[in-house]
Symmetry: C2
Subunit: 312 residues, 2 copies
């Protein structure tokens, strides 16, 4: 059984979308990452920090999923990271209304002994210096280190970011971030430039359009399922990354074929996350629903060109 160590935030989120107001709810990258990873047969631990106001009920959501919280530090002096956002009509644009960093400002990750040699390390969106500190504490090189980051760190911690990128196997970013990081507009050129910074694999997230995996042998493109309803996009990227890493638990060898399938499973879980507020969908979907949507994806992408039959 593979061991996956997940680092990221555990937070309170509050969003308003065209579908309503969420109220204060459980959020944070490590939350979505670990909840999504936990759908697969593996052993997951998180490294994160919460504040003195973090409720026992929320802690139980992790432990109830067999997520090891030895690495979840609870601050006695500070409150939990809090983010409040407002999504516009088309949901691709959002404004941050409030960010209270609180306990996260004092996050000094300590990897517990039982998780210091994970098979897979997922570095959720955090300061790249913190991400590096986590790698530094590992006893062995994992089979795969996955890094998620965002434009904010390109603007504010470029040197640290470049350093940590050089130490990971796979980076996940969106299109605009790939362009900003590489100074290339064309995505294949951007991916190649990023591979030259260190990672063997680059996954470019394209939101409602799907995602692309650039690997040493080429590219794989997975469209997204078109959805009838999107209620709250928060956590979509983290759910994708978590489902991705979680599904890799099933492979003895993490090769391109495994990564391709993992993208499909990650995207599948993310498609549920956005259809309800916060972690509601991840907490409530059934294996049957997941399987049905996978079948739908296979159906949606299936074709068979009869190329031999025709010249063009």
């Amino acid at each position: 059984m593979k061991q996956i160590l997940i680092a990221g935030t555990v937070a309170f989120d509050e969003v308003t979308t065209p579908f309503g107001h969420s109220g204060k709810m459980l959020g944070g990258s490590a939350t979505y990452l670990s909840f999504a990873s936990a759908f697969f047969d593996n052993h997951i631990g998180i490294v994160s920090i919460v504040g003195n106001d973090f409720p026992e009920d929320f802690i139980k959501k992790f432990t109830g999923r067999n997520i090891d919280i030895t690495g979840l530090f609870q601050s006695e002096e500070h409150k939990t990271f809090y983010w409040k956002g407002y999504y516009y009509e088309n949901m691709n644009k959002r404004d941050t209304l409030v960010t209270e960093v609180n306990a996260l400002a004092y996050f000094n990750p300590v990897i517990p002994e039982n998780f210091n040699a994970p098979d897979i390390l997922v570095l959720g969106n955090l300061h790249p210096g913190i991400q590096a500190q986590i790698i530094n504490q590992l006893k062995n090189q994992p089979e795969l280190i996955v890094l998620d980051t965002m434009n904010f760190w390109m603007d504010h911690a470029w040197d640290d970011l470049i350093k940590v990128i050089s130490r990971v196997d796979l980076i996940m970013i969106n299109e605009e971030e790939a362009r900003q990081l590489s100074h290339e507009f064309s995505l294949p050129k951007a991916a190649r430039a990023i591979m030259n910074m260190g990672p063997k694999y680059v996954i470019i997230k394209q939101g409602e359009y799907g995602s692309m995996l650039f690997h040493p042998g080429g590219v794989f493109s997975a469209p997204a399922l078109p959805l009838e309803v999107v209620k709250d996009p928060t956590g979509a990227g983290d759910t994708f990354a978590g489902g991705f890493a979680g599904h890799l638990s099933y492979y003895d060898q993490i090769d391109v074929e495994a990564l391709k399938n993992a993208m499909i499973y990650g995207a599948n879980l993310a498609s549920f996350t956005v259809q309800d507020f916060g972690t509601n969908a991840l907490e409530n979907i059934t294996k049957k629903e997941i399987q049905e949507r996978l079948n739908h994806f296979v159906e949606m992408t299936k074709f068979s060109l009869q190329m031999k039959k025709h010249e063009v």
Copy 2:
């Protein structure tokens, strides 16, 4: 051998893109549509109008591809439709600098007798009233009528557009147009609303992200090949539609599987069009290059989920 009748504009285009200035060149929807259709084994005729300044050399580009120009009317009094545009850095935004409608204002399509019972009719972007006039002149119902249109007609000729939409089998539009036409934001909902207006099939073009076919049994999504260089997006949509219709020549029965393959061939040709100015790529690509890129597409989209092996 299938007969395809194509209606649209034949024009002079002039564009400036980040890659340079094209000078005055051959353009227009019927040009791209017919050049792309002509890659397949079929019999193509166009219905369009040009002016007294349209050069013999350009005429020969059609006849040299065995495109029947009996339906191409040449005005003695007016000049050829002329469009001049400027593309911004990311190429998704363009400004129209000059539009001289010229002879097109007097376009009164007359379908020649040898093309009044085509197997496939492609109605390129034109006033929906003109598109209807063309359908009116057919002696038989074609196997497939494909309609291309744009937001301009939604703003300026709504009633005529709704009428012509009710008479076609398949409509091709981009995302924003699908939303405007259906008053639905979600693409599956938009497609369903448009199907309720008449067409059995709706293809939503998503540019660099690919395209989706909504059909009575579900949806097919084809990602686009990520390109290293895009020099001039002009004609991409028309090339897609032309390659799509042209490839259908190979099918005795135009069913969903045929439409899916046709989308892949259409997208393949469009990926060449955008890599050079105007019709240059369509005039110069070889069957070998087309085949190589098709192989690349198959490679890029191939996966095999081992779903039975795992529970999720």
